[in-house]
């Protein structure tokens, strides 16, 4: 247990360092610093993977139950998603300025939350658990990436040729950032949709009903519809620019609230996964 926690603190330290490096790299227009920040983010993945792997081996199940595990898995996916994107296209490095704080906040909150061991109950003992949770994590990572691009877009747009626009000039042109935001929203929309579908199938196999308007089901649909609105505004109403970027910025926290906030606010049959009453 201590070993896991130490490694997790190490990972968090890497992510905090990467965040600071991204911010300074962008402010002082130091491209090498933002590139190194990507490496530091990638380095943070190693201790986090080790810690989660050790926990997985010890408990016999993946990071699915309890806020500590759920937030950890989300953070891992967010950072991994960003690192892969930045590795493939170094022009996207500065997006870390928007994405890494999300990872730091999530993991930081997890480190101060209960790290109790929650066993897998009979209600959770299904292969659907892995599939359902995996798509939730991947979807959130995509939404977090779109959030990062949207932040960059808005910062640059507000600066309008000023200091921040200059600091972020290495990033792709604004219209490309706008399209990238939409591409990641579309990816998240698909992955979130698969999460809803797998959840519905699992609910039907487990409880005999595929949809029961439970708060977490309802909010997952709300998030999906919100991103559907985004996609309609982008592709059908031809919205572009700052308005759409703000939309992506506001939508991401709603997705986060759905994943980790709902079970703490509402009485839900999903409460068990975040460490509340048993499912």
């Amino acid at each position: 247990m201590t070993f896991e926690i130490v490694f997790m603190w190490v990972a968090l330290t890497f992510y905090v360092a990467a965040t600071v490096m991204f911010v300074f790299g962008v402010i002082f227009s130091r491209e090498t610093l933002t590139r190194r920040a990507v490496y530091v983010s990638a380095a943070g993945l190693a201790p986090q993977l080790v810690a989660l792997g050790v926990r997985w081996a010890r408990l016999g199940h993946g990071p699915y139950v309890g806020y500590y595990e759920v937030a950890n898995a989300l953070t891992l996916c967010v950072v991994a998603f960003f690192v892969v994107a930045a590795w493939r296209n170094p022009r996207l490095d500065a997006t870390g300025m928007g994405i890494m704080p999300v990872a730091v906040l999530l993991l930081g909150a997890a480190m101060f939350a209960s790290k109790a061991d929650f066993p897998i109950t009979a209600a959770l003992a299904s292969y659907w658990l892995f599939i359902h949770v995996a798509f939730a994590n991947l979807a959130f990572a995509a939404f977090a990436a779109s959030f990062g691009f949207a932040i960059v877009y808005v910062v640059r747009q507000r600066s309008a040729g000023g200091k921040w626009a200059k600091r972020l000039e290495k990033m792709p042109p604004q219209d490309v950032v706008d399209d990238l935001t939409a591409r990641f929203v579309l990816a998240g929309f698909l992955l979130w949709g698969i999460m809803i579908v797998t959840g519905a199938i699992w609910a039907n196999e487990s409880w005999g009903r595929y949809w029961s308007w439970d708060p977490i089901e309802t909010w997952s649909l709300v998030v999906w519809l919100i991103y559907a609105i985004y996609l309609h505004l982008k592709y059908m109403r031809k919205w572009r620019g700052k308005r759409l970027a703000w939309f992506a910025i506001i939508a991401m926290p709603i997705a986060l609230f759905c994943l980790v906030g709902i079970p703490t606010v509402f009485n839900t049959i999903h409460a068990g996964y975040i460490g509340g009453s048993e499912l």
């Binding site: 109950t121 003992a125 487990s206 308007w213």
Partner: protein
Amino acid sequence: MAQAVIRRLWRGAVRFLASTALVTGLLAFVSLWSAVATFVPQGEASSPDVSAWAASNPTIEPFVRAVGLHQAFTSYLFLASVLVLGFSTALCAWRRTKVALNRARTLRTAATADRRTVCGTHDLEIAFDPALGGPQALTIAAETLGHLGIRAKRKDDVVAAVSSSLSVWGSPVFHWALVALMVVVLVGVLQRSDGLMALAVGQTRPDAAASYGVINTGIWHDWSGVHRSIRLDAFEPDFRLGGLDRGPTPTVSVLDGSGAVIKTQRVYPNMMLHAGSVSISSPACGFAVTIALVNAKGVEVGRLVQFVDFSQTATGGTVPVEPFTVSDSTGQVLLSGSVTVPLDRSGAGYGEWIPKVPTAHVVVTSPDGGQLVDSVVKPGESVMLPGGRQLRIIDVGWYARLAIVDDWTTPLLYAVMTIAMLGLAVTLLTRQQLLLATVIEGPDGSRLAVRMRLWRNTPTNRAEIASELARALSGDEKRSVS
């Protein structure tokens, strides 16, 4: 005249329903409505949660009640919005289908296009260095496109990067699947039956409305076509499998009309019994107390099974599901009573309170309310009733409350949801592009003729392609008149 008016109205309605402003507005409304509904207790006005909320929020309660937010997902406002959204989606899907058909036709034609076709129809002409030969210009063009992320193939005298004609079907398939999903859900609601049936171990009941304690049936559900029975074969209070306690686990059989077993299996969380359109889970269980009424001569004259539920609040830890009555031949009630099973609270947890040898706590009252019997008895023992009659406890066993859903649309639902996601995946992952280039000879020298359609998911844009090709070929770009 009238026809023209009707046609105009029809077109106006279609235009309105297919407008993206309406769709986005409806999506926003459904999202907001659903989100707000999660903060408001759902149920009838008489339900305790709704009443308590109404008492603590007297200012907004009249509005909430008026708009139907207490039954948010069955309210007319919500259902009407979803219905209109369904029509809008269908119209949207239809429009996308027409676009996809055109694009697919264009892509299929482009896939077999030769030099002559591109010469006849192109969007751009780019002059190139006369020192370059035609084949070399095409090679440079293919490489330039490759640098821009477009993999182009060289086919005779044409450089081509043409997406599969299937790539255009993602969005229409997704939207049609959404329409189908709404239809399947609606049909499912109309034809399904969904109820709770209580069965003691060894008991068999026909799958008919009268066998259920609670039943919700769609208006299209046809009981006359149902010829099966449900039997509870066994019950294990704490079944373990794979090192995991699966909880109280009944073994359930589904029998056909002739009594032959269709399927038998243990039912526990994540392990429902599926037999045809029927799915059975077991959300609750309790005790089943079998009682016999014995007359003054010691002859058993009747027998009944009393179901007893666990209760967190009851003194003995259990409550009767319903009281029983003893009547004479004219139907006059002679006695009424109830049975519970006292739990052994010396155990550490609720699961350990189940006694090793369960007993029955029998309370019998006369019609005027006077208490006649209040005894705890073991199986095989009796309590004496007035007139020399006895109530004999035959057995204290288990019962399972089975949730039985009869819905043939479930596989369709899964299929439609899967198709929707596949459509969305195609939309996300495939490009919709058409790019053909060939060399044409003109009075001003050789030029690269380019035909371009960049519909979706392309890594670049027309302007960048044109400028990069022009730069690579060191020529000038000129708009074609074609």
